[in-house]
């Protein structure tokens, strides 16, 4: 079965310091993995995705993630946090057993990132 575990429910960093949001996955298939961000009172936005191409994936706003099969991890990083990065982040795995030939998305519990001045 497909699942994701986000290891931290809350992460707090100072502006200008690195960000690390941790995610481990479990998959019976070759996984497709995503990171979505949800700002307060706004919709979900795709940050980046891994779909079996390069293991280091670059996304929007300076975020990147590395797929490590041996560790079943897909951690999200950013070299320098900005105040505008404060949001909820979701690690997501795609489940190919969805209805109508479309993949289902399985969401992690989320990590709330706080950025302090």
């Amino acid at each position: 079965a497909q699942s994701v575990t986000q290891l931290d429910s809350h992460v707090s960093v100072s502006e200008g310091t690195p960000v690390l949001l941790r995610c481990n996955y479990s998959s019976s298939y070759s996984p497709s993995l995503f990171w979505y961000v949800q700002h307060p009172n706004k919709g979900l936005q795709l940050l980046l995705k891994y779909t079996s191409a390069a293991t280091l994936v670059k996304g929007i706003n300076g975020f990147e993630a590395e797929f490590k099969k041996s560790e079943t991890s897909f951690h999200l990083t950013k070299p320098s946090a900005h105040m505008s990065d404060a949001a909820e982040y979701f690690c997501v795995v795609s489940d190919p057993r969805g209805s109508g030939g479309y993949n289902k998305l399985i969401f992690g519990a989320g990590t709330r990132l706080a950025v302090h001045p």
């Binding site: 497709s32 995503f34 979505y36 706004k42 919709g43 979900l44 795709l46 995705k49 779909t51 979701f90 795609s94 190919p96 969805g98 209805s99 109508g100 030939g101 479309y102 993949n103 289902k104 998305l105 969401f107 992690g108 519990a109 989320g110």
Partner: protein, 115 residues
Amino acid sequence: SAVISQKPSRDICQRGTSLTIQCQVDSQVTMMFWYRQQPGQSLTLIATANQGSEATYESGFVIDKFPISRPNLTFSTLTVSNMSPEDSSIYLCSVPDSQVNNEQFFGPGTRLTVL
């Protein structure tokens, strides 16, 4: 990408009543998805709505509680029936990327509070 709008953006309802949430997409899509995000929690898929057929519900969700309509390729509604405070959540619709079926675009959500 797809642009998705939802109505209402938020509502406060009394227990025992029902609320219908609308989802409009700016392009034709075969499949639409409805999710629930309970307070402080992650997103859970409620059902998949295929135009022209009955919606497919996930375990723990039933049609009597969450009836879905899909009258055309750009529109869907989700009704939350006989509401209780436990139904207080954000409800989101999404559509798959036309090019990549494992990627989805999400609407802004409907924030429902049941008193």
